[in-house]
């Protein structure tokens, strides 16, 4: 049951990302060139609706499907890790034209070379795990 639940969300997510072209390398390039509202519109409307939804969810103390109180953890306070890590991520996002969700979706669309990117992203994650204690956070 839970498997079906999360599988369906994933399938829906994959379909939306392809149909919205958010998985397109070209759309990411266009976004960073400020030449279209497309990606800003997608992220913008998702965030605005998200703010409204989470506001009411907290106000009404909505319960999750399992009856638990819903609470989203606060992100740890810091500056360096977000700016530095974010910049590194952003450079990769622009070059690959894909972030960690779209990578898998693109694999599903038949782009097998995405396996190389996913493999390298795993290596990058591993590298972070190795260097973690030596980086400013």
């Amino acid at each position: 049951m839970k498997f079906i639940r999360f599988l369906s969300v994933g399938i829906f997510f994959g379909i939306v990302l392809v149909k919205s072209q958010a998985v397109s390398w070209y759309r990411i390039y266009e976004m960073f060139k400020f030449q279209s509202i497309h990606m800003y519109g997608i992220i913008g409307t998702a965030v605005i609706l998200g703010i409204v939804f989470l506001f009411f969810l907290k106000k009404r103390r909505m319960k999750s499907v399992d009856g638990h109180e819903i609470s989203l953890p606060d992100k740890e306070r810091s500056i360096y890790r977000y700016l530095l890590g974010g910049t590194i991520f952003g450079a990769g996002w622009a070059l690959a034209g894909a972030c960690p969700g779209p990578m898998y979706v693109l694999l599903g669309t038949g782009t097998l070379s995405m396996l190389i990117v996913i493999f390298a992203a795993l290596a990058g994650t591993l590298l972070y795990g190795m260097m973690k204690d030596y980086l400013p956070h």
Partner: protein, 185 residues
């Protein structure tokens, strides 16, 4: 049906992506795709050598299921739900890409010059894909999240750290495309 087969406009897609976040929150989880990279490292046994990967990855099985779904969703979308329309890019974008050597901008989701078989026949092609993945994997874990965790969920939850991360995402992306692309391509 025709409306579904055509590309979806941003004002439809954005709300649908927030629906993905709502569903995961309602199911008692959160929307964060990059965590799966850490989970996969843990499954591969990295936890034996590095404490960062030493956690009970079974708790993250739900998120791997979302990944599996995303792969299937990608397949369904291109196989059954697409009419093959080109991506309606800004003509300036197409011109700029031609200057860089990308000749078919918008005709498919991805440039063959980077992801096609001919790119995989060159050292440069492999190098670019490996570097791109490495930066994404390293950066996302360092920043503690990616587009879904920071830009969508974090900003929706009014997290200041997520705003910093998104500023970083843009700094990195602008640097790559405006300064490095003309050198690389």
């Amino acid at each position: 049906m025709e409306i579904i087969l055509k590309p979806w406009p941003w004002y439809v897609s954005g709300p649908l992506i927030s629906l993905v976040m709502f569903s995961l929150v309602y199911f008692g989880k959160t929307f964060g795709m990059s965590s799966n990279l850490r989970t996969l490292c843990s499954i591969a046994g990295a936890g034996r050598y590095l404490p960062f990967f030493n956690f009970d990855w079974r708790q993250q099985r739900w998120n791997l299921t979302v990944v599996l779904g995303a792969v299937i969703g990608g397949f369904i979308a291109v196989t059954f739900l697409s009419d093959g329309s080109a991506i309606a890019l800004n003509p300036h974008t197409v011109e700029d890409l031609e200057t860089l050597g990308f000749m078919d901008a918008g005709k498919s989701l991805l440039p063959a010059e980077m992801f096609g078989p001919e790119a995989l026949g060159t050292i440069k092609g492999w190098f670019l894909l490996l570097v791109a993945g490495l930066l994404v994997g390293f950066g996302t874990r360092y920043a503690g999240g990616c587009t879904s965790g920071h830009a969508i969920t974090g900003l929706s939850n009014l997290q200041f750290p997520s705003l910093l991360a998104v500023i970083g995402f843009f700094a990195g992306g602008l640097l790559m495309i405006h300064l490095l692309f003309p050198i690389i391509f």
